[in-house]
């Protein structure tokens, strides 16, 4: 990335997968590099199985037990988190780097009151009880849950989905993290509530300067929220660029096809939507060549034989496509 500020979080050449005992390692995330600076908002777009969630889970070493980071560095404010001790990781998790997941019901303990769960998070990061209670009230207010007494005293099932996701964000923000990683936090919510959450995150970010990594499959959310987008497909980044460029001038056929498949307000009513043939490949059964090749209208022989590298295409735009120069540069 050409931008000037030092990244607060940098992922270098990350590979995640299954460590082979009697066979080769099998990678699902295959060499992902990403950076995000303070005040920046990075979007990671991809379908299920593209490796976007595994990438973010690797940052805090929260991968499911059968998966492991095979290779790569994860640098947080200059510190290599891959080498960090368990003790240090516990400090970072939910402290300096906070995460919010898609389903708040599953991330909260159903048997504990909301307020208690936020206070506990703070206590785990060394805050005394009294200040922790004050801070809890403050962050609940900050996320628009103004009836703090009622929300604090409620069990998760007593709140609506939107309120719960706000409470989750309050919990994430309580420790004033430097990085917020949000994995599809609004996918399960109504659009009106989603809009509130997007506005809220943007507002808080302006105040605190925390960096945001937003994982989603919704290109609309990307357009509204983030300033830079990484598009993932089959475990790799196939395109990365400033948001505006992604929409105006997509450089990878997959990005272009995704944008083309959306029903736009000005499109012909009931007209045929641009279809992407086939379906996303099985990340564990990839063949040689470009993983999008089988679905790509522009594929040539070379695409079948050799996987294209992610290369700079100017203006901070990167793309992994053999045909990019002739197809898109005009």
């Amino acid at each position: 990335m050409s931008s000037v500020p030092e990244p607060i979080l940098a992922i270098h050449d990350l590979r995640v997968g299954m460590r082979g005992k009697r066979r080769d390692d099998r990678a699902i995330v295959r060499g992902v590099s990403l950076e995000v600076a303070p005040h920046a908002k990075l979007g990671i777009v991809g379908e299920s199985g593209s490796g976007k969630s595994l990438t973010t889970l690797s940052v805090l070493q929260l991968l499911p037990p059968q998966l492991t980071v095979l290779d790569g560095q994860i640098e947080f404010a200059g510190e290599d988190l891959m080498k960090a001790s368990g003790e240090r990781l516990r400090q970072v998790r939910g402290g300096e780097i906070a995460m919010v997941y898609q389903d708040p019901m599953r991330s909260l303990n159903p048997l504990l009151r909301i307020g208690y769960q936020i206070v506990e998070t703070l206590r785990a990061h060394g805050v005394e009880s009294e200040p922790a209670r004050e801070r809890t009230e403050q962050v609940l207010r900050q996320v628009g849950l103004t009836d703090t007494a009622r929300v604090s005293g409620a069990y998760p099932h007593q709140l609506s989905g939107g309120m719960l996701q706000r409470a989750m964000i309050a919990m994430a923000l309580a420790t004033s993290p430097k990085v917020l990683i949000a994995d599809e936090p609004t996918t399960a919510l109504d659009v009106t509530i989603q809009q509130q959450i997007l506005d809220l995150v943007a507002e808080i970010q302006t105040e605190t300067g925390m960096a945001v990594v937003w994982v989603t499959h919704d290109l609309g959310v990307v357009a509204q929220l983030v300033d830079r987008v990484a598009v993932m497909y089959a475990g790799r980044i196939v395109e990365q660029a400033p948001t505006r460029l992604i929409f105006e001038h997509p450089s990878h056929p997959y990005t272009a096809a995704l944008l083309g498949s959306l029903p736009r307000p000005d499109a012909e009513h009931r007209g045929e939507l641009q279809q992407i043939g086939g379906s996303p490949p099985d990340p564990l059964a990839l063949e040689v060549g470009c993983p999008f090749q089988a679905r790509c209208p522009h594929a040539i022989d070379r695409c079948v034989q050799e996987e294209p590298p992610l290369l700079e295409r100017g203006e901070g735009q990167l793309a992994a496509c053999w045909r990019e120069p002739e197809l898109w540069q005009s």
Binding site: S160, D218, A223, Q224, S261, L262, H269, I276
Partner: protein, 331 residues
Amino acid sequence: MAELILEAHDVVKNYPGARRGAPVQALRGVSVELEAGKTLGIVGESGSGKSTLARQLVGLETPTSGTIMLAGREISAKSRPKPRELARLIQMVFQDPFSSLNPRLTVREAISEALKVHKLPTGGGVAPRVTELLSMVALPERFAPRYPHELSGGQAQRVAVARALAVEPRILVLDEPTSALDVSVRAEVMNLLVRLQDELGLSYVFVSHDISMVRHMSDEIVVMYLGRVVEDGPYQDVLDNPLHPYTRALTAAVPVPDPDARTAADFRRAAKSEVVLEQPPEVGCPYQPRCPLAIPVCTTVLPPLVTLYPSHEAACHVAAAQAGVTPAPAS
């Protein structure tokens, strides 16, 4: 006038409340109409009653009061056709094909089962009909022996559509048919649904929170809020010139895949008083606590759904005043 294939009149659905609580009023008098061969889009937040309405339409539940007419057959608390008869008229396609298909039945078995239950096709063989249904949804014969886990999301949803079509229904209720699918295969399922409608003359009820998909598909749109219809009309009227502040908030909140798009900030903020979501006020307009346009009358009088412009209805005092319509006081 074209045939009305579906007509719901003043449908009310109450569910028993928790413990000694009051019953939950999921539908508070909903009336909708659908012309044969057309698509009715139903939008609204969770809790608006859109899925409850869908369940009454396909006969999974019976309304507490009110009447539903499907191709001239009545469904109400008093009278309803036999389930099998109803199934021949109206079928439903659900959000997640992997939970609506039996994992232990192959594609062929899943579709044959529907045919056998209805003793179809009359006088013909089941096998050729299965092949025909698969080709209707553009799945080659080789998919017939596969199990659901061997299918992609798009393919599985095609099977669900084929199974629904097996009994030759006239109406399909599509409940979020693309929401569980990968973004890159949604267009394929949408194109299929449009093509089938044209070929078979089907009528669709399309329930979704994805407003861009609803817009693409629907001829008429109904906007629901807390168990009531707050606006309805042709799709352009409702989505491009929304009259009800709730519809305006809803359309403004849809993230447009265009970084230049600026949404109306005041309507976005309108939805911020989240505490009132489940508990609408006892009197007045249920949307009033969230509404940026509310005037005194909104706290006291429930606005009725009235025609404000030709074939465009809304339940809003402010919109009615702007349209120069004086609504009759709500009963």
